[in-house]
Symmetry: C2
Subunit: 262 residues, 2 copies
DNA sequence: GAGTGGTCTAGACCACTTG
DNA sequence: AAGTGGTCTAGACCACTCT
């Protein structure tokens, strides 16, 4: 067994300037890229590699940590190190906020996930009145207080997204928007009923490594970045009526946009 | 000196379940978050932390590697470990392909960078005829051969983006598009002169950790992901006339989009 | 119980940067 | 020359998983 799984790997080049742990990482990466280890496959264990290469255990662990940082492998305590499985991806289409999508009873997330054959869940819903951060306040035109709606989205039991919506409190207080369940079509439908006909959304996209809190909330594997999306909704009078701050597991999303060539 | 810089750090909790290297990483992270170490500041050296915490050097190095993976710090051989400086960010606006921007002599990248006070450069330009990958071929409607235009973009000497444009060969061969410098307004202006009036662009955005090749090309620090953007340009007849495959240093970009609320 | 990865020690030598 | 991080060794004990 041991020899068999490590047998796809070559030997070290002692004349090379390249550090031993990098050479080992290179060989493992190449074996993964060439499909000799496939998604979900177990790599040779640390002790197998120690024997195969004749190096110390820390050197082998060092090469694993290189591959983990690249998001290529995940380790599972007591089981082994595995080629990271690529989860199914959720595609956010550029028409996802079209008004026609709001005319149904379920949320966009639920409808879309079910259409894709996944089991959607929303948990950790929390609605509070707060003082906004400087950034949020600036985006919303400077309200003193806001309504914050937090929730986490899961697909097939896996957390994929954590989102907070902020609305000026004078606009949202004592409306269905302040209720845990704002009703069919979500808060955008309610905003329009309150006379704030939506005109357009601005979205800002960044990518970065997650904070420890985000790693816990989204149960992120090592080497998985997050996509940070900040969306501002404007009504037809040009007023910013909502800011939605969203953090997504980057390996679970593709964002799609359409740009006019005008 | 030594004691001074480590003096902002606390003590370990020997009763905690949390691993020692994580406790050290937590304390350093907190000190950074609270501004006790600012961008570009040098953290206490490994030997200072070894002394301060009374642990072995590998334990200290392990905590540094946690922070590196989070993109919080960068190490420089022979100098020290530093709080990662946040470089200026380039904002890609949603109107960046508006036709009016094509009517100037310089490229969008150059104009925009100079307006922002940065020194733009383009290097590594390479124009070749190739067989497309399956994915690129599918996006372009299945041409057997394509023209590929590769180049790297730099701001103030720092590489920020690597891009490859693919065009169906039957469309681009023997046109200015196949020249290293396609002329004012770039290849989009040439496409329109060739009768392919542009209608819209589709963009797909992903984020992931970089490959070793991308780390070299973009000189990426540890803990910096890339944004992978694939743009397809369509003419008014619905034909895909170009696919641009772009990899960007995630810490150098914010992407902005506007969505209609239609 | 055997095998796996997780943590930690106490050294060693090297390469790079700075004074 | 002194200080820094980079690489590597050879152990040790622990926590977790599987059978």
């Amino acid at each position: 067994m041991a020899a068999a799984s490590a047998s796809v790997l070559g030997a070290l080049d002692p004349t090379s300037d390249r550090a031993v742990f990098r050479q080992i990482a290179d060989q493992l990466r190449e074996a993964i890229d060439k499909g000799r280890f496939k998604e979900g496959d177990k790599l040779p264990s640390e002790s197998e590699l120690v024997e195969h290469y004749g190096v110390s255990r820390m050197t082998v662990r060092n090469s694993f940590s290189v591959l983990q940082g690249e998001g290529l492998v995940v380790s599972e305590h007591g089981k082994g190190v595995f080629v990271r499985p690529r989860p199914p991806v959720r595609r956010l289409a550029s028409d996802r906020f079209a008004r026609r999508h709001r005319e149904q009873g379920k949320s966009a997330f639920t409808v879309e996930a079910e259409a894709a054959g996944s089991r959607p869940e929303v948990d950790g819903l929390e609605v509070k009145e707060e003082r906004p951060t400087q950034d949020i306040a600036a985006r919303l035109g400077g309200p003193r207080r806001v309504l914050a709606r937090r929730r986490r989205y899961l697909l097939d039991g896996r957390p994929v997204e954590y989102a907070v919506s902020y609305l000026p409190l004078d606009l949202a207080r004592d409306t269905p928007i302040a209720q845990p369940n704002p009703g069919p079509g979500g808060i955008y439908a309610r905003l329009e009923e309150l006379g704030h006909r939506l005109d357009h959304f601005d979205e800002e996209i960044r990518a970065r490594m997650p904070s420890p809190h985000e790693v816990r909330t989204l149960r992120l594997a090592a080497g998985v970045p997050v996509i940070h999306l900040i969306r501002t909704a404007y009504d037809t009078e040009g007023r910013a009526v909502e800011v939605c701050d969203t953090v997504m597991a980057a390996d679970a999303y593709v964002l799609a946009y359409q740009l006019p060539a005008t």
